[in-house]
């Protein structure tokens, strides 16, 4: 009990004005029928405000678990996570979440899907949120689609709606779990650049889980490589490519150096090097 308290106190001490999110020796163990499975082990991480952080790694390295721990959806087995100096002990309220599928409500229009968090949380001043929603819709290029239903939109457009919904309450932190994973390659490239633009305009802190090394390097300030079973941070690589970044960034020689280095680390210890 005392050690737990100490850890919590340490986490609070460690957080300074510039730090939004911190992991302090976080572990997560899942009980299964074949015994306990360790999904995350001793993860230490500090994320600064307005940083764009990507997490890459092979399947089963605990990337998604990491995001769900941040959201407070599962408790950590050991260690503490704090957002803005406050230890996460229950689902975090003002947080943007985007999943691989857009999870929109089919019977609600684009605008009312985006307004869902405002309605569920019963926030006052609905009109100002409606205004925010319209501004977000404009930002992601969905003007004129406010009253359409999700099934009338393409996959990319649906995912844009779900990003707007994540941003409606102006959360400081945006958690994205392979948001472009279900899109085709061209839409995916387009969406990455759009997200970058949105990020620079809204000044959010983004934690972005992806399978694509290129996507991670193109967008991030830092790329975290995780190794599987148990999930650990195996590399924390700052990406020092100039901003604003565009498709041209992909052809810079350092871009390839970064992707090469990351791939090497991801496949380390397996036969699939390269």
């Amino acid at each position: 009990m005392t050690t737990e308290l100490n850890i919590a106190a340490n986490a609070r001490n460690a957080s300074n004005a510039d730090e939004l999110l911190s992991f302090d020796r976080v572990s997560k163990v899942y009980p299964t029928n074949d015994g306990a499975v360790s999904a995350l082990e001793d993860v230490n991480l500090a994320v600064h405000r307005q940083q764009f952080i990507s997490i890459v790694g092979r399947s089963g390295c605990g990337k998604s678990t990491l995001l769900k721990l941040v959201a407070g959806l599962y408790p950590a087995s050991a260690g503490t996570i704090s957002i803005d100096g406050r230890v996460v002990t229950e689902p975090v309220e003002n947080l943007g979440m985007v999943f691989q599928t857009p999870v929109l409500l089919a019977w609600r229009t684009v605008l009312s899907n985006i307004m869902l968090p405002v309605e569920i949380r019963r926030l006052p001043d609905r009109d100002s949120y409606l205004e925010t929603a319209r501004r977000l819709i404009k930002m992601v290029g969905l003007e004129g689609y406010e009253n359409r239903f999700p099934k009338e939109l393409s996959g990319g457009m649906q995912q844009r709606v779900s990003i707007c919904r994540a941003l409606i309450c102006n959360p400081p932190l945006l958690l994205m779990d392979e948001p472009f994973g279900a899109l085709d390659a061209l839409t995916r490239d387009e969406m990455s650049l759009e997200l970058l633009k949105l990020w620079s305009e809204t000044k959010k802190t983004i934690l972005f889980v992806t399978h694509s090394v290129e996507e991670a390097v193109l967008m991030s300030d830092r790329v975290i490589v995780m190794s599987p079973r148990p999930g650990r941070v195996s590399l924390d690589l700052p990406i020092e490519l100039p901003r604003p970044r565009s498709n041209e960034t992909r052809y810079v020689s350092t871009f390839t150096d970064y992707t090469h280095l990351l791939r090497e680390r991801i496949y380390e210890g397996s036969s699939m090097t390269g």
Partner: protein
């Protein structure tokens, strides 16, 4: 061979709900059956009190239209009241089962067991409990109709993705908010499907109730006229019953379409 393949392809697209079914084939098939029946009844050598011809049945319906209408009205009222009761209680029960998991786990097996009991056998008991009147028929309709509504509604209420539930958790959504704003609208199509199954059972329920007691309704009419070897009137009543069933089914379909939000309708 090629033709056969194309045919198979077309059937698949129909199953996916893309092209509407042809109306000519079923009409033709019905006409052939009715025609064969007419010929057999007239020239088959059977006495007409055993198998009346379709044309004779139609003439009987026109002749006895007032009698049939009053009995059909009684059956209609019983079926509709029983079905509405089944919808209200069925949907309510499904909500409780989904909202309170442990209570649901306790109730659900009982529900299944209640379906294994042949409900027709309960009809005489219903009379003891609620009397000979309308209530015993409504209760019978309810007993037959509510199960498909409960099962379908539960399925609809539960078909929410984990991602969506987690998203709602980060919005601090309450159980009741999730029920009213997410689960209920999401379940409407399944509720309608359950009610479609229930409506055909509802008419059967009303008939069973009428067989057991009372002196009105098409079920009573079938029973009474058969006892007098008035097969013509029996057939007339059965035909009206079939029409009643189809009309009720179509009504449920139309109402279902109205209450289903447009984007959730299978065919827009």
């Amino acid at each position: 061979m090629l033709k056969l393949l194309r045919c198979a392809g077309r059937r698949r697209s129909f199953e996916a709900g893309e092209s509407p079914p042809s109306t000519i084939a079923p009409i033709l098939a019905s006409l052939i059956v009715i025609g064969a029946w007419e010929l057999f009844a007239r020239f088959g050598g059977l006495p007409s009190y055993l198998l009346p011809a379709p044309s004779a049945v139609i003439i009987e319906i026109v002749r006895e239209k007032e009698l049939l209408a009053s009995h059909a009205w009684a059956t209609l009222v019983e079926s509709v009241l029983g079905l509405v009761t089944a919808c209200v209680i069925g949907i309510g029960l499904a909500m409780i089962i989904v909202l309170f998991r442990s209570l649901g786990d306790a109730i659900y097996p009982l529900l299944v067991v209640s379906q294994v009991v042949p409900k027709v056998a309960l009809a005489p008991l219903m009379i003891i409990y609620v009397g000979f009147g309308l209530q015993s028929k409504i209760l019978m309709v309810f007993l037959l109709a509510f199960f498909p509504i409960v099962v379908n509604t539960i399925m609809g209420l539960r078909s929410i993705s984990t991602d969506l539930l987690q998203l709602l958790e980060t919005m601090k959504a309450s159980k009741w908010q999730i029920m009213w704003q997410i689960r209920m609208p999401n379940a409407i199509p399944q509720m309608v499907e359950g009610t479609k199954i229930a409506v055909t059972l509802a008419v059967t329920g009303a008939l069973v109730g009428e067989f057991a007691s009372g002196n009105e309704g098409l079920g009573y009419l079938v029973l009474a006229s058969s006892a007098n070897l008035n097969t013509l009137l029996s057939f007339a009543a059965i035909l009206i019953l079939a029409v009643l069933g189809i009309v009720l089914f179509e009504c449920v379909k139309i109402i279902g379409n109205i209450v289903t939000p447009k984007p959730l309708r299978s065919q827009s």
